[in-house]
Symmetry: C2
Subunit: 292 residues, 2 copies
């Protein structure tokens, strides 16, 4: 499949993107190729450019449902993508992903996650994707203190997948979890993610740390994913496209600030140095490089 | 608190009940007593009649959120009420309960359930209340066969709270679970709930059996709750009121049929024989005894 000579037009539209124009792309796509965008995605698009256009153009809930479904399939399975979607979306957004998942795949997100994971990963991921966290800013300080203590004890005993650790991380509101982790830091002298680095090779620990990061400082998590995707020998386009397409309209401004602070180079420059052609133009348009 | 001379009026309205009239009751209540119904419920109403009126009058999602919250509090805690709400409501209804819970209690349902339960009960109840099951009728027979086999193996090994058993019961759609249990029955010669009776005194096993009943034949579950509430020495008004108030507008017709079949007496007659006064009149009005 090729896009013929429409690439620049598509990029131009997206550079001044809004929902109505995205619908236009979807319509244009259907007329030009005779099939729905989602179907094209499922058939594995041949180029990074196409994947970026199609992913971005989808409705956010459908897009996340698609990515989550991909993450439960054998050859594209990814605990990370599931964790990222579960922890960085708002409670209502995550619920909309679950609704879109029903519609698209005639199954529930949690049944696929539970079926395709096991052990500690299942214990963490199933409640993460099923959560409907309270979103208010109210914080219970007594609870924050007692749960910081629980976390400290379990981590000291290296019981990283203990059910109490899982319970606190997967059910508390982001505001409450943040208060608990602040108290942890103050009372025990270390940020929790430092204490969770005991075994740097433990893949479950890495995922748990990333979940805590996504729940409390998502822009730092995304900065790191972008940094690793770009610095990798042979750019990781899969991750780069995912983060750009899903965060473009959400918190890209903060992610770009974080990127520049951490790498002493702008995200625009880093992407331009690592990609080329329509794919490069598309990513730059999505991160708003043309807005300057 | 007393209702003065309005009891018959309230019962009369409820006998020809609909949403608009319930709103009227709620309004009347606020005018007469100067407070919201939910607040009255929280202060423990003094009579069974009042509890029945107030519970029924609440919006279904608020009512379930109230009952679930009560079920996580120390002196009114009940694994059964949590299981009942999680397993007999539709996926969207259960989600509306979770939304109402946020609004009323500034917390999530799952965080309270996880915080106030432990061990096997937590392993079962948290995914039950967090589920958003697919509601279509599509069934995968290959999956039904393989999961029936898993259930059989775990039950034979007495691993009743094994994570695979929990996964199947808590995540599969009701249609899929039903197909799995039908296959179980056909292939292994026993209904699963018969095999789960190995230890009749095991409280967790009782709850697991009840959950399976709620998910597949809810009217049989409710018939049994009513039967036990009525036959008990000193009627269990708490359960009687809950089932009548929550099922009146949903599946009371089927529950009444089931009750008569199992007890050779109508539910009306059984309730009339076991209750009295305004409470009796109210329950009879709610189960539609006056409709004949």
């Amino acid at each position: 499949m090729g896009w013929g000579t429409n690439e620049q037009l598509i990029i131009d539209i997206l550079a001044h993107r809004n929902a109505a124009q995205r619908n236009l792309i979807r319509k244009t796509y259907r007329e030009a190729y005779g099939e729905d965008l989602l179907k094209s995605l499922d058939e594995e698009l041949s180029s990074d450019f196409e994947r970026a256009v199609v992913l971005f153009t989808l409705d956010p809930a459908e897009r996340d449902a698609f990515l989550a479904h991909e993450a439960t399939k054998r050859f594209t399975s990814s605990h990370w993508v599931l964790m990222e979607i579960a922890c960085t979306r708002s409670s209502h957004e995550l619920f909309n992903v679950r609704k879109a998942y029903h519609d698209l795949y005639k199954k529930s997100l949690e049944e696929d996650v539970a079926h395709h994971t096991k052990g500690d990963y299942r214990k963490l991921l199933v409640p993460l994707v099923s959560a409907f966290r309270y979103q208010g800013e109210e914080v219970n300080m007594t609870l924050a203190r007692s749960e910081a203590k629980i976390l400290r004890e379990k981590i000291s005993d290296k019981q990283y997948s203990d059910e109490e650790v899982i319970r606190i991380v997967t059910t508390r509101s982001k505001a409450q979890l943040n208060a608990t982790l602040n108290h942890y830091n103050t009372a025990f002298g270390n940020a929790i993610n430092k204490d969770l680095k005991a075994d740097p090779e433990d893949e479950f620990l890495k995922l748990l740390r990333a979940a805590i990061k996504c729940l409390t400082v998502p822009e730092k998590y995304f900065e790191k994913v972008l940094r690793q995707a770009i610095n990798k020998l042979g750019t990781d386009e899969w991750a780069l496209t995912r983060v750009v397409a899903t965060r473009a309209e959400v918190d890209m401004v903060r992610i770009k600030e974080e990127y520049q602070r951490r790498n002493s180079v702008t995200l625009e420059k880093a992407i331009a140095g690592d990609t080329s052609g329509d794919y490069e133009k598309m990513l730059l348009a999505l991160i708003g490089a043309g807005d300057v």
